[in-house]
């Protein structure tokens, strides 16, 4: 089995990987980084959203071995030295989740939305976040949390 080096949240990990292991399974099953969630595993729910070189993508639809040279950021890498990111704080303050299963994907996706810089209005944020499904239906509060971060980032 080939030994593959993956850079996740600034740390290099050397792991044995078969080609058919998705980035999602590599994170969860091989590296114990279970913050990234497996919802549908078919690219339809957004629960597995991570950043690759700063861009939000779906970890379930990409092969881990294809990202040997990339900077991968998961939900575990968002808080720095125990201090929550302002977006994470906004999710807590706005009560933007119920069961919490989709939350890591929502937060990673929203970080991507802020960095992309195309969504400003509520409608644009809803559209930009449409790839993240929340079965509890916490959308109103998710929108409020993301809006707060978008506003903060554009000041």
């Amino acid at each position: 089995m080939p030994l593959v080096s993956l850079k996740i949240n600034g740390l290099k990990h050397k792991i044995e990987l078969e080609p058919n292991v998705t980035l999602l399974d590599a994170l969860r099953e091989r590296l114990g980084l279970t913050g990234t969630k497996k919802g549908c595993d078919f690219g339809q729910c957004g629960a597995c959203t991570v950043l690759i070189d700063g861009r939000r993508v779906l970890a379930c639809l990409t092969l881990a071995m294809m990202h040997k040279e990339a900077e991968i950021t998961t939900i575990e890498g968002v808080a720095v030295a125990g201090r929550l990111h302002s977006l994470q704080t906004a999710f807590i303050e706005h009560d933007a989740f119920q069961c919490g299963f989709c939350t890591p994907g929502q937060i990673m996706s929203a970080l991507g939305v802020v960095q992309e810089g195309h969504a400003k209005t509520d409608d644009e944020i809803r559209e930009a976040m449409s790839g993240n499904i929340c079965r509890c239906g916490a959308y109103t509060n998710i929108l409020a949390a993301v809006r707060e971060e978008v506003t903060r980032a554009s000041v």
Partner: protein, 327 residues
């Protein structure tokens, strides 16, 4: 997912040599279709060739045309300044497809080759002439609300899922292909093949060929244009009906029209008859209604998808009205 070998191509020649060397091998770029269909068990390539390192990641524009490399991601096309201003229907089409995450992954080349979302195609337990030629079609008597009404056959009623390809066909894009013998250019209207008796053959791409770019000529009807997508949800959903429309005017008279339909065709559906109806006419409800009738000529609805005929006609009118209003 079944086991396979993953190879990496650094140069175009290497990619073409590798695909010729391994029987049943497939290219992988964004992976959003390939990995998905491998998980469904619809495609089982023994070898994947990673082509992300090839030099097809640029958009190049001049006065006459915009050339988009096959590896440019959907989101990067959609937000490209030249595409937004000179080919707005293409930007809108890309932005109406999939989700933000998928658009960051999926490439232009892969978008052209994405497979139908027909649930019977995606389920290896169902009969499907596209997936397994000669087995039959469970969509015919099954649930086919989302299925095609134009360009279908007795063997297949699957809808082509791409939004971008609908805009590209209205824009007269040319698809550039590379093979070991050299390159060739195929107008996108000749790229797709209607299902007929062989629904498994979807385009003219030959075994071992690779899409390297699409090139789009520029003009007024490409600039005065829009893409209208009608679907069950406001976002992150495939089209029930989509319209790519572009008009060139001389005063209030239409001198050139570009019109294509999505969500209703077995392939991205250019409606040249409707374009001819519009040419030379005064822009307005009468001409738009006539064009809508012409656009749906030959439609063959089935039990669940008959609503698409009227929906598509109204969408054509609305798209054309939008082009006039935003002119």
């Amino acid at each position: 997912m079944q086991a396979f070998e993953l190879l990496t191509a650094r140069k175009t020649d290497d990619a073409l040599a590798l695909i010729a060397q391994y029987e049943g091998a497939a290219f992988i770029a964004g992976g959003t279709t390939v990995v998905d269909l491998m998980k469904c068990g619809v495609t089982l390539p023994p070898v994947l060739i990673d082509i992300n390192g090839l030099p097809f990641g640029e958009i190049d524009a001049n006065e006459e045309r915009i050339r988009i490399g096959a590896l440019v991601r959907n989101s990067d096309v959609a937000y490209d300044r030249n595409v937004v201003h000179r080919l707005p229907m293409l930007s809108k089409a890309f932005l109406s497809g999939a989700s933000g995450q998928l658009r960051n992954m999926a490439t232009v080349g892969g978008n052209l080759l994405q497979r139908t979302r027909c649930p019977y195609f995606r389920d290896p337990a169902s009969r499907c002439n596209k997936r397994e030629p000669g087995t039959g079609c469970d969509a015919f008597e099954g649930i086919h609300r989302g299925h095609a009404i134009l360009g279908t056959s007795n063997h297949c009623i699957a809808t082509h899922p791409s939004d971008a390809a609908v805009a590209l066909i209205a824009l007269d894009a040319v698809v550039e292909l590379a093979a070991p013998g050299g390159t060739r250019r195929v107008p996108i209207e000749e790229f797709y093949i209607v299902p007929g008796a062989t629904p498994s053959i979807e385009n003219v791409l030959l075994k071992g060929e690779l899409i390297t770019a699409v090139e789009i000529p520029l003009g007024a009807a490409q600039r005065n244009a829009t893409y209208l997508k009608v679907r069950d949800r406001a976002s992150y959903e495939f089209a029930l009906v989509a319209v790519a429309a572009g008009l060139e005017f001389d005063g209030g008279t239409i001198t050139q029209a570009r019109l294509a339909l999505g969500g209703v065709g077995a392939i991205p559906w250019r409606v040249r008859g409707a374009e001819q109806v519009l040419a030379g006419k005064k822009a307005g409800p009468q001409a738009f209604k006539e064009a809508a009738e012409a656009a749906l000529e030959g439609a063959i609805p089935r039990r669940d998808n008959a609503f698409k005929v009227e929906l598509a006609k109204r969408a054509v009118v609305r798209a054309l009205e939008t082009v006039v209003r935003e002119r």
